[in-house]
């Protein structure tokens, strides 16, 4: 396997940054997130970022088209720019999985979302494996993610302690390793053992079980402590619901889409005032059923990658692993 010592990574990133718009996990003053690489900046390749990388493809606010009006007349123009080729470096396997789920949503079922696709197609993915839970709240292994290795990327880096072992996962990845061959050595490597995860929710058969639990009192029970904020959905790497709204200034304006949260009361409220999900019971139920039943029914995958961000930042410790446990404990008549 090709290996690169960790101390050489910043030199490698400097080189890459000459070619690509390079995004790396950054821990600055604020929350850790993927941000443009600056030489000597605060790159943080340990653990996962607080903010998931979804905004690289699906920004929190994204302009779609602009318009101008003149009395009754008007015109519009699409604002879809092809971004520069970019590299997302240091994505953890849980987040790689989440990008795969976002691909399902934005690129399949009859409609392709060009705003997402234009960025997705131009992004080179480099993942870094974990040899165990990066945070106590991690549970990716239980959600079918191999914490050590990702396949749906261009290049994967194994964490071998003092160095990374690099494997190309695509043709572009091969070319990349060729191009930067001077940074790598060839070595026999032994992958470290994966350490024990504290949280191990069992999702075997959960979709089928939930199909019979829509009216179960469990939802009333678990939703009581929810505050109805959007912290879980905004930090979730897979949550992808959005709103389309506009901004008008005089006779000019633009329409944009922005993240929205199914936990907000106005999310499903219609113009006449009717709301199909009027209280937090329905909203919490929809969130968890979407993750564990509806999405698997529609796309064949759970909409949770076990990154643990929601349960680490939820103001009231709403814990999806615990809810999964409670679902399992329910005895259906």
């Amino acid at each position: 396997m090709k290996t690169v010592v960790k101390s050489k990574i910043s030199a490698l990133l400097d080189e890459i940054a000459k070619e690509f718009n390079l995004l790396v996990p950054t821990a600055g003053d604020g929350a850790s997130k993927f941000a443009p690489y600056t030489s000597g900046g605060q790159v943080s390749l340990d653990g996962r970022t607080l903010l998931p990388p979804k905004d690289v493809f699906f920004p929190q606010t994204e302009k779609m088209y602009k318009f101008s009006t003149d009395g009754m007349a008007g015109s519009l123009e699409t604002l879809l720019e092809a971004p520069k080729h970019q590299m997302l470096f240091g994505v953890r396997p849980c987040d790689v999985k989440s990008i795969h789920e976002l691909d399902h949503v934005f690129l399949t079922k009859g409609f392709v979302d060009e705003f997402y696709q234009s960025k997705r197609d131009r992004t080179f993915l480099v993942s870094i494996g974990c040899n165990g839970p990066a945070e106590p709240t991690c549970f990716c292994q239980s959600m079918g993610v191999n914490p050590q290795e990702s396949d749906a990327v261009d290049v994967h880096l194994f964490d071998l302690g003092s160095e990374y072992g690099a494997v190309a996962k695509s043709e572009n990845g091969e070319a990349f390793l060729q191009k930067y061959a001077s940074f790598f050595n060839e070595a026999e490597v032994q992958l470290p053992a994966i350490s024990e995860f504290a949280l191990k929710p069992d999702v075997e058969g959960i979709t089928e079980k939930l199909q019979q639990m829509f009216d179960h009192p469990l939802w009333e029970e678990v939703s009581r402590k929810c505050l109805g904020c959007g912290a879980c959905t905004y930090l979730c790497p897979t949550c992808h619901c959005f709103d389309i709204s506009g901004r008008v200034a005089g006779n000019q304006g633009f329409k944009f889409r922005c993240w929205d949260s199914c936990m907000f009361s106005e999310y499903t409220r219609m113009a006449g005032g009717h709301n199909p999900r009027p209280s937090k019971k329905e909203r919490v139920r929809n969130r968890f059923l979407h993750k564990l039943q509806y999405f698997p029914e529609r796309y064949g995958d759970l909409l949770c990658t076990g990154c643990g961000r929601c349960l680490s930042k939820c103001p009231v410790n709403m814990d999806i692993t615990n809810i999964i446990k409670q679902i399992r404990e329910v005895e259906l008549a």
Binding site: T69, G110, H290
Partner: protein, 282 residues
């Protein structure tokens, strides 16, 4: 019966094309029908009956509406005044620039309906989505059996599409239109009473695999379903359309889901048999 049609848009299914209001018909005090075509006078896109269109006034907002019918060069939206966008639409005049995108949703199951007798039931503005199929059946008269429309509104003044229900449709061979109002007035000679009771009174027969297409306020639907069950209509043959808040129209933005179905993509047309398998969250 899921038929997903690709939106005809140049760049993205989320970006509309510019259109123009070419005619406005005041149906009743708070309902107007807007005829929309492109600035060149063409039809923005060709929807199947029952499909939806996203209509916007650029500097106000966007909303999903059923396309109540179409002509060779235009689409028609019948819109009740309920919020910010619909208020602005009601203020608009002929010539107003709008933006449209679509068509979205599955539409009515035409192949399933063809060759069968059809009973259309509408309440209030609920006739709007049904009208797209009625007009399709009228235009393709030979492809359908007998047609019957049962339509009710609160008062004679609240009846919409008066030209169709009073003039056009009753003249179509093999087509019958029965009207009822909750409260009559001095000039009203027709039936007075709620739609469900009127259905039972008319007692249309479900024989010959008759299909019933139903749309109206939720409370009316609830009681109509009971009446239809009494008359012996099968759940598979009762078809209705649903309404949910929508933003993208292409099954991505998330909010219009009922279970794992998206109303904007897999709906808005569902049979009662399908609805019974879905969570009652609409």
């Amino acid at each position: 019966m899921t038929q997903v049609l690709r939106a005809e848009n140049p760049v993205s299914p989320l970006v509309p094309v510019v259109g123009k209001i070419i005619k406005i018909v005041a149906e009743k005090i708070d309902v107007k029908t807007f005829h929309v075509s492109t600035p060149e006078g063409e039809k923005p896109f060709t929807p199947a009956p029952g499909q939806l269109g996203m209509l916007s006034i650029l500097n106000v907002g966007e909303g999903m509406f059923s396309i109540t019918t179409q002509g060779p060069n235009h689409l028609e939206f019948s819109i009740k005044k309920t919020g910010v966008l619909t208020d602005a639409l009601h203020e608009a005049e002929v010539g107003q620039t709008v933006a449209v995108r679509g068509p979205y949703g599955n539409g009515f199951p035409l192949d399933f309906c063809k060759g069968k007798d059809i009973l259309f039931i509408g309440g209030g503005i609920g006739l709007a989505p049904v009208r797209s199929l009625i007009n399709y059946a009228v235009e393709n008269r030979g492809a359908f059996g007998n047609l019957q429309v049962i339509y009710g509104s609160r008062s004679p003044a609240d009846l919409v599409f008066k030209e169709d229900i009073l003039e056009n449709w009753p003249k179509v061979p093999g087509m019958k239109v029965d009207l009822t109002v909750d409260r009559g007035d001095d000039e009203w000679k027709g039936n007075v009473g709620f739609v469900p009771a009127f259905i039972e009174q008319l007692a249309p027969s479900p024989d010959g695999d008759k299909v019933c297409v139903l749309c109206g306020p939720p409370i009316m639907i609830k009681f109509c379903l009971q009446s239809l069950a009494k008359l012996g209509f099968k759940d598979e043959n009762i078809i209705t359309t649903l309404e949910m808040r929508m933003k993208c129209g292409v099954g991505k933005c998330g909010r219009c889901n009922i279970g794992s179905c998206f109303v904007c993509l897999d709906g808005p047309v569902f049979t009662l048999a399908q609805l019974q398998k879905m969570p009652p969250e609409y």
